[in-house]
C-alpha cells in the first residue's frame, strides 16, 4: 500500500484542481509525494544507522514525523496554504494508521517469536503434573479452556439468542422490554473481574468459601458473552425485512414457525458470525477465571468441582510465578499466549467463511 497514491473517491475527483487562484497551479500529486515519502524513509533510517542494528520502532516513528513535516513545508512552498493543510491532514491520518500498526505488529511478532520456543508436541500433549523446571505443557489448560468455553457457549447462546428474539419479535414497547434493552447495555459494561466476583459470590453461597470450579468460571463468562450475543443477534434479526414475516403470516404460518423457519434462516449468517466472535472474545478472558476457576498443574475434566487450568490463567500464572529455572516457565507462558492468539485467529477466519457461505443470495 502506498501512502501517497490513494485513488480519489469519485466524490473528491475535483479536489486536485483546488488551488487558490488557478486550476493548474503547481501540483505535488503522484511522483513528488512518493519522493517526499522516500526521503522520509531515508531520514528515518539515518536515525538508527549510526548506532548499528535496525531499530524498527525508531525508524517508523522518525520516518512518519519527517513525512508529515516535510509534506507540510514542501506543499506550502510549491502549492497553496490550503492545499498544504489538506496534504498535511492526509499525511497525519495515514501516519496515524501506520503508527498503530507498530505496536500491533510488534505484539503479534513477539508472541510468535517467543511462543515458538515451546511450540512443540510435548506442550500440546502433557500437563504440568509433577513438572519442576523444564518440560511439561499446557494440555490440561487447553482441555480446561475448551470445557469452560463450551459450557459458556452452551449457556450464553440460547440465553442471548432467545432474549434477542424476544426483543425483536415479541417486545411491544412495554416497560419490561425497555428495561431488558437497558440492562443488556449495563451487562455489556460489566468489568470482567466483577463478573468473576459475582460468580464466586454465587457459588460461595451454595458451596461455602473458597469455591473453585469450571462451572463457576462458565457462569462468569456467560455474564460477559450473553450481552454480546444479544446485541449482534438483535441487530441481525432487525435486518430481516418485515415483508418476509408478513408473507409467512399471510400463508397461515404460526409466529414461532415463522421465526424458526423464515426469520432465523435469513439471519443465520450474521448471527453465527456474531456468536463466533463472541466466543473469540471470552476465550481469552483471564481475570474472571482467575477468581473462579483458579489454576492447577493437573488435568481436571470435571467442571463441577475443583480447580481447573485454563490457557489464559496458565499463561499468566507461568509468567507471574515462574518455577526454577524461570525461562522454562516463561516460555510456557508465551506458548500458551500464542495458542490463544491462534485460536482467536481461527475463530475469526471461521466467522468470515461462515458469513460468506450462509448469506442468502437474494436478500436486498
Amino acid at each position: 500500500m502506498s501512502l501517497t497514491d490513494i485513488p480519489p473517491r469519485p466524490l473528491e475527483s475535483d479536489e486536485r484542481s483546488n488551488s487558490d487562484d488557478a486550476i493548474t497551479s503547481g501540483s505535488l500529486a503522484g511522483a513528488p509525494m512518493l519522493g517526499i515519502f522516500a526521503g522520509a524513509v531515508v531520514i528515518g533510517a539515518l536515525s538508527w544507522l549510526p548506532f548499528g542494528g535496525v531499530n524498527w520502532a525508531r525508524w517508523v516513528i522518525v520516518t512518519l514525523l519527517a513525512y508529515v513535516i516535510g509534506t507540510l513545508i514542501i506543499s506550502r512552498v510549491v502549492e497553496s496554504p490550503r492545499q498544504a493543510t489538506d496534504r498535511f491532514a492526509t499525511a497525519v491520518m495515514s501516519s496515524a494508521f501506520l503508527l498503530v500498526m507498530l505496536p500491533l505488529v510488534s505484539v503479534v511478532w513477539t508472541v510468535v517469536e517467543r511462543g515458538a520456543n515451546r511450540f512443540d508436541w510435548t506442550f500440546y500433549s502433557e500437563t504440568m503434573r509433577g513438572v519442576i523446571g523444564e518440560g511439561g505443557g499446557g494440555y490440561h489448560a487447553i482441555v480446561g479452556t475448551l470445557i469452560v468455553t463450551s459450557l459458556t457457549a452452551l449457556f450464553a447462546i440460547p440465553f442471548g439468542l432467545f432474549t434477542a428474539i424476544y426483543l425483536v419479535e415479541y417486545a411491544n414497547g412495554s416497560r419490561f422490554s425497555k428495561a431488558v434493552t437497558a440492562l443488556v447495555d449495563v451487562m455489556t459494561g460489566i468489568p470482567s473481574i466483577v463478573a468473576g466476583l459475582f460468580a464466586y459470590a454465587l457459588f460461595v453461597l451454595i458451596d461455602g468459601p473458597g469455591h473453585r470450579s469450571g462451572l463457576a468460571g462458565a457462569v462468569a463468562l456467560t455474564l460477559l458473552m450473553t450481552p454480546v450475543v444479544v446485541r449482534t443477534s438483535e441487530e441481525m434479526l432487525r435486518l430481516v425485512p418485515n415483508e418476509l414475516r408478513e408473507a409467512s403470516f399471510a400463508l397461515g404460518v404460526p409466529r414461532w414457525r415463522t421465526i424458526t423457519k423464515v426469520v432465523l434462516p435469513t439471519a443465520i449468517a450474521g448471527i453465527l458470525t456474531g456468536i463466533v466472535l463472541a466466543v473469540a472474545r471470552v476465550i481469552g478472558e483471564t481475570a474472571p477465571l482467575l477468581v473462579t476457576v483458579g489454576i492447577t498443574a493437573n488435568l481436571n475434566k470435571n467442571p463441577l468441582s475443583g480447580r481447573m487450568a485454563t490457557l489464559p490463567v496458565f499463561s499468566y500464572n507461568s509468567y507471574k510465578f515462574p518455577t526454577l529455572p524461570p525461562e522454562a516457565s516463561i516460555d510456557r507462558a508465551w506458548t500458551a499466549a500464542l495458542t490463544l492468539v491462534l485460536i482467536v485467529m481461527v475463530l475469526f477466519v471461521t466467522a468470515r467463511i461462515l458469513s460468506s457461505i450462509l448469506k442468502p443470495k437474494g436478500l436486498r
Binding site: F249, G252, T266
Partner: protein, 298 residues
C-alpha cells in the same frame, strides 16, 4: 380453464378515461348480475368495520358485500386506507403493534373477529399477495411454493409435493418458465416472475379468498398483463379482492369496484360507493367518485 373467454381488453386502455371507462369485456360468468348479493359459499359480508392504528382511526364504518367467483377492486387516493382495509380481511392488520379492528367480517356465516377464531387459521382461508414480490430468500422456487404447507410441518410425500408445486405454478402461469429450475433460488427470478411465484405460493395453501394489494405496481406492462390474465382465470376458483391505483386495470379485471376516500389528513378513510365496475366508471352515484375516476380529483 377457459382462457379465450376471459381475455381482457388490454389494448383499449389507452382511450381517454372519461369515456373509455367501460365494463370489462368479459361478462362475469357467474353471478350474472354483479350487484345482487349471491348466497354462495365464501361470500364476504363486512359490517360496520372501524380499523385503528393505536389511537388513530384509519378506516371508519365500512360495510360491504364481496361476492365469490368474482374480482372486486378497491380504488381510492393514497392514504385512504385501502391496504389497511384489505389487511383486516385476513387478520393481518393486527400483526402491527397497537393495531386493532372493531366490527365484523363474516365469511360463510362466521365472524373472523368473533371469539375463539384463530387468526392463523383465518390466514389459511384468506390468502394474500403483497405489493412488492417477497419470495423467501433462503428457499428454492419449489420450497417457496410449498412454504405454506411445509412451514406448518405438514408431512408430504415427494410425489404429492411435486404435484402441488406443479399445479400451483401452473395455476400462476409460471410453470413453463421455471419447470427446469425448481431448485434454483426464488430470488433469482424477474420481478414479474417473483410476483407470480408469490401468487403460486398463496394458492398452494388452497385458500378460499385471495387478497392482492397492488400486485402489479412494481411490474412492467408485460408482467402486469400476465398477472391480470391470471386473475381472470383464478376468479373461477377464488374470491379475489384487489387494491389498485391503475383504473384501467380495475376496469379490465374487476366485476365490482369499491371507491374509498378520505376527507383530509388525520381523518379516517370511508367507503364512498360500491357498485358494478361498469357503473362506477361510467355513471357513479356520488360526485366524489365521478371526480376521482375522471381524474378531476383534488
Amino acid at each position: 380453464m377457459n382462457r379465450s373467454a376471459t381475455r381482457a381488453p388490454y389494448f383499449e386502455a389507452s382511450i381517454p378515461m372519461t369515456d373509455s371507462v367501460r365494463a370489462p369485456a368479459t361478462a362475469p360468468n357467474e353471478p350474472v348480475d354483479a350487484n345482487a348479493p349471491v348466497d354462495l359459499p365464501n361470500r364476504i359480508d363486512i359490517r360496520d368495520l372501524d380499523i385503528y392504528y393505536g389511537d388513530f382511526k384509519a378506516v371508519e364504518g365500512v360495510s360491504m358485500t364481496i361476492n365469490p367467483r368474482s374480482v372486486t377492486a378497491l380504488i381510492g387516493p393514497s392514504g385512504c386506507g385501502k391496504s389497511t382495509f384489505l389487511r383486516s380481511m385476513n387478520r393481518m392488520h393486527e400483526v402491527i403493534r397497537g393495531a386493532y379492528v372493531d366490527g365484523e367480517v363474516i365469511i360463510n356465516g362466521r365472524n373472523l373477529y368473533g371469539p375463539g377464531v384463530d387468526p392463523v387459521a383465518v390466514r389459511r382461508k384468506v390468502g394474500m399477495v403483497f405489493q412488492r414480490p417477497n419470495p423467501f430468500p433462503t428457499m428454492s422456487i419449489a420450497d417457496n411454493v410449498l412454504a405454506g404447507k411445509k412451514l406448518n410441518s405438514k408431512r408430504m410425500s415427494k410425489s404429492v409435493a411435486a404435484e402441488l408445486v406443479e399445479t400451483s405454478l401452473r395455476g400462476a402461469n409460471l410453470w413453463n418458465e421455471v419447470k427446469d429450475r425448481l431448485d434454483g433460488p426464488g430470488s433469482g427470478l424477474s420481478g414479474g416472475q417473483q410476483q407470480r411465484l408469490c401468487i403460486a405460493r398463496a394458492i398452494a395453501v388452497e385458500p378460499d379468498v385471495l387478497l392482492m394489494d397492488e400486485p402489479c405496481s412494481a411490474l412492467d406492462p408485460i408482467s402486469t398483463l400476465a398477472i391480470e390474465e391470471l386473475m381472470l382465470e383464478l376468479k373461477n376458483s377464488y374470491n379475489i379482492v384487489i387494491v389498485t391505483h391503475n383504473m384501467q386495470q380495475a376496469a379490465r379485471v374487476s366485476d365490482r369496484t369499491g371507491f374509498f376516500n378520505i376527507e383530509g389528513t388525520g381523518k379516517p378513510g370511508r367507503l364512498i360507493e360500491m357498485d358494478a365496475t361498469e357503473k362506477i366508471f361510467s355513471n357513479p352515484t356520488e360526485q366524489q367518485t365521478q371526480d376521482y375516476v375522471t381524474g378531476r380529483f383534488g
